[in-house]
């Protein structure tokens, strides 16, 4: 089917949002969404049209156990210094400005969260394709990671459009520095990052003894083994940053 046909895209989106598109057809539609802006646009328009209908429903209070289970699933609350909203918002704006200046490609970068000494610029790592282009051309940057100077938080953002199948994820890895006379250490997972938007990575001191960052293609939700299982798509070496 030609999903770029506006009437068809609109009809499918209507049935998807109304809920009558079911079973394999619904799954197929969801798989198509990431790659079809026209479908996504139609879906959003139908959501805007129909969702206000639900506002007439009588609210149903969930049992307290639900929130407890959610809290367990999303992990422990962050350290207190990471949770000062006003401070981090001001710093967000500050870092945006700095990162914008530092970037020649006019990429908007955001480095967030409590940074003890905001006078230091973020560390910027550019990740390019792991394999050289087949036609021998110049490889272009694909992801940019900007890291707060204390190495506590990092924001990744795709530069070029990265298309992923819906059942695949991109996982970020910290590749440890090789030490003389010792076997190479395995990469440490920094979690799954978004292929079409910014992702904030917070893993404490993520960058101690790290040589490079790498992004691998993994099954949806990330590597099941804790080690990269799919191909490494993008790599970027950390600059030899002056340590405080």
């Amino acid at each position: 089917m030609d999903y770029s046909r506006p009437e068809l895209a609109d009809r499918l989106a209507a049935e998807y949002v109304a809920g009558t598109l079911r079973g394999p057809a619904r799954q197929r539609f969801e798989t198509l969404l990431p790659a079809h802006p026209q479908l996504r646009h139609a879906v959003r328009a139908w959501q805007d049209r129909l969702m206000p209908l639900t506002l007439a429903m009588e609210p149903q209070q969930p049992s307290p156990a639900v929130w407890k289970r959610i809290e367990q699933r999303i992990g422990p609350a962050p350290a207190p210094q990471a949770a000062a909203p006003t401070g981090s918002w001001r710093q967000l704006a500050f870092w945006r400005g700095l990162a914008g200046l530092a970037s020649t490609a006019a990429i908007v970068l955001a480095v967030v969260l409590a940074v003890p000494q905001p006078a230091q610029p973020p560390i910027i790592v550019v990740l390019g394709p792991a394999a050289p282009p087949a036609d021998g051309g110049v490889s272009t940057a694909s992801f940019v990671a900007s890291i707060s100077p204390d190495g506590r938080s990092m924001v990744t953002r795709p530069v070029a459009n990265v298309r992923l199948e819906s059942n695949r994820s991109l996982e970020l890895w910290a590749v440890p520095k090789a030490r003389a006379g010792q076997p190479a250490e395995a990469p440490r997972s920094l979690g799954v990052v978004s292929a079409d938007g910014a992702t904030v990575v917070q893993r404490g001191k993520v960058l101690d003894d790290v040589d490079a960052l790498a992004l691998s293609l993994e099954p949806g939700g990330g590597s099941p083994t804790g080690k990269p299982t799919g191909p490494i798509l993008y790599v970027g070496k950390l600059p030899a940053a002056p340590k405080r």
Binding site: D10, R11, A14, E15, V17, A18, G19, T20, R22, G23, R26, R44, W46, Q47, D48, R49, L50, M51, P52, L53, T54, L55, A56, M57, E58, P59, Q60, Q61, P62, S63, A65, V66, W67, R69, I70, R73, I74, A77, P78, A82, A83, P85, S88, L92, V112, L113, S194, D196, G197, A198, T199, V200, Q202
Partner: protein, 212 residues
């Protein structure tokens, strides 16, 4: 500008901020977001999956998903409550697929009385419920939508309401309404098309009125 409209805008802005802060890992903001929206999302899910335990499991999945995806929320493109409700509906519909082997107790229309085919499901669920979201239902968008729902034929309205609110498939709607599948499919399709045209016309009228 009337109070409900301002209220809608303010609530939307507040929820957008909570989502943005959740996306930055702010747990307190996320807890507030949950407090303000979970009872609405549970109502939406329960309507589709009537099993309370399953519905609460779905709700849990929804918020874990929201926590992880909050960064991808784009306030310029979507209303926060629309975004959240869509996630909840999709999860609820998926949960039906998974528990298809179990009997579903969803019939609330003409279950006992075959003469009740004219019962208007939309009317029965549209009763205003007092609660924090009550004001929202009187916001402009919702008002236009309700007006447009009124413009549908009773059969169209009922078929769309059964599908949308209760998460029934075309086949299940046909069974409920005791009508051929093809008839129901065309009711739903025409109802959605009329709603779209009616809402677009209403938006244009609003735009003209806003300028004049």
């Amino acid at each position: 500008m009337s109070t409900p409209e301002r209220e809608w805008t303010e609530r939307s802005r507040a929820l957008s901020q909570l989502l943005a802060r959740s996306g930055l890992g702010d747990r307190a903001a996320f807890a507030t977001l949950y407090e303000r929206t979970s009872s609405h999302l549970l109502a939406v899910v329960l309507r589709i999956n009537r099993d309370r335990a399953q519905a609460e499991d779905v709700l849990q999945e929804v918020y874990v998903n929201v926590w992880r995806a909050a960064q991808s929320f784009d306030a310029a493109q979507s209303q926060p409550l629309t975004w959240l409700t869509s996630i909840a509906r999709n999860r609820a519909i998926d949960s039906l697929r998974r528990s298809q082997t179990q009997p579903q107790l969803r019939s609330n229309v003409s279950a006992n009385d075959p003469d009740e085919e004219e019962t208007d499901v939309y009317d029965s669920v549209a009763d205003d419920a007092p609660g924090p979201l009550d004001l929202l239902s009187r916001a402009t968008d919702a008002r236009a939508l309700h007006g447009c729902m009124e413009g549908l034929s009773a059969a169209q309205r009922q078929s769309v309401a059964l599908a949308f609110f209760d998460g029934l498939s075309h086949g299940e709607v046909a069974e409920q309404m005791r009508q051929p599948l093809g008839t129901v499919k065309s009711w739903v399709r025409r109802a959605l098309l009329s709603l779209k045209n009616c809402l677009e016309a209403a938006a244009q009228r609003d735009a003209v009125a806003g300028k004049g």
